[in-house]
Symmetry: D2
Subunit: 121 residues, 4 copies
C-alpha cells in the first residue's frame, strides 16, 4: 500500500496537480468517489446487489470505483501525514472495548449489557 | 492490510453483524463515513484545512474518520471478493496512459496534446 | 419557499456567517446533510425503511435532516442566483422527452423503444 | 412546489418506477445527486467557485444537479409523508433559539454567551 501511495503522489507531481490536491479538495473528491460507488447499488434490491460481480461490466465498474476511493484516501493521508493502517488498528482496538463480542450462549462476553449496538457503531 | 481486513470480518462475525453487512449497506456506510470526513473541512478555508492536524482534537477526529472509511472499504471488498490493491494498481496503470506526464520543458511526455485534464481525471 | 429562503439568508447574515457560506462550502454542506439523511437508513432492510416514520424518534430525525438538506439547497441557490423550482420544471420537461411513459398495453407511448431505462435516469 | 412534487410522482408511476422508489433508495439517490453537485466544485478555488455561473456549460450543469437534488428530496418526502417546508420552518424556529443573532455592537442579542457556534450548527 505504501508503494501505491508513493506512485499516486509521484503521478500527481509529474502532472503539476499538487495545487489542486489540498486536504479539503481531496476530502471532497473522496466523498464524491464513494458516492459513485454507491450509485452502482442505489436501485438494486439487496439480492441483486449481492450478485453485482456476476456481470463483467458491473464488476469492472465496482473495481474502478473502489480504486478511486482508495486512491483519494491515500492521497488525503499523504497530504496530512496520517497513516491509515495505524489509524484503523487503533480504531479496531477501541471498538473491541466498546462492543463486546457475543458468547456462544448468546450473551455478551465481558458482562457488558447488550442490545442493538450496531446503529451506534 | 489483509490482517486488518481479517480482524474486521471476524469482529463483525463475532457480533452477528453479517446480516447488516450486505454490499449495498456497506457501500452506503462507506459514503456516509466519507461525508463525515468532509464535514470536518466544510467550513474551513483552504489555509485552515492545511493546518487541521495542528489541533489535537481535530487530528484525532481526522484519524478516526480515515479509519472508518478504510474499515468500510475493506469490509465492502471482503463481501464482494474485490482486491483493493490490485484494483488500484490497475487503475494507476490505465491513468498513466490517459494522462501523460509533463516533460521538464513544460510539454507533455509522449507527444499527446495537453490542456487542463485534471477535471476529467 | 421563497419566504423560507429569505429567512435563511437573513439568519446567516444576522450571525455574520456569510464568509462561510460560499458556493463551494454550501455544496459540501448539502452533500454532508444528504449523507446524514441516508445514515438513518443505512442498516435498515427495505421493509424497515418503509416504516421509519412509525417511531417518533426516527420520524423527528428524518424531518430534521430533510430540513437541513432543503436549507443548504436554498442557501446554495441564493448564493448563485439559481431558481430551484424553475430548474426542476425544466428538468422534468427534458425527462418527459427522454423517458417516454408506458401505454396501458405495456408498450411505450410515442413509439420509442423501451427497456430498463431507470438506471440511466 | 406541491405541483412539481405531483408531477414527479405521476412521472414515476407512468413508468412503473415505484418499486425502485423506496425510501431507502431515494435517500441514497439524493445523496448521490448532492455529490454530483459537489463534484462540479471539488477542484475549484473559492474564487473560481463564486464565478461558476459565468460559464454557460457549468451554469447548466449546476442547474441540472440542483434539479436532481430537489427532485429526489421531493420524491423522498412524498414516499414518507413528510412536508419539507413545514420541517424547514420548524428547524429555523429551533435554530433561532439555539444561535442568538449578533447585536449591532457586536454582542449577542438575548444575552447568551457567544463564540464560534458555526461549527456546531
Amino acid at each position: 500500500m505504501a508503494a501505491l501511495q508513493r506512485r499516486l503522489v509521484d503521478f500527481a507531481a509529474a502532472r503539476d496537480w499538487q495545487p489542486y490536491h489540498t486536504p479539503k479538495n481531496l476530502a471532497a473528491a473522496l466523498s464524491v468517489e464513494a458516492s459513485e460507488l454507491l450509485e452502482i447499488f442505489q436501485w438494486l434490491t439487496p439480492e441483486q446487489a449481492e450478485r453485482v460481480m456476476d456481470d463483467p461490466g458491473s464488476a469492472h465498474r465496482v473495481r474502478d470505483e473502489v480504486a478511486d476511493v482508495l486512491a483519494y484516501l491515500l492521497q488525503f493521508c499523504a497530504a496530512l501525514g496520517v497513516d491509515p493502517l495505524t489509524a484503523l488498528a487503533a480504531k479496531i482496538d477501541r471498538n473491541e472495548l466498546r462492543f463486546p463480542a457475543l458468547r456462544r450462549d448468546g450473551g455478551v462476553a465481558g458482562g457488558a449489557e447488550t442490545g442493538d449496538r450496531h446503529s451506534s457503531e
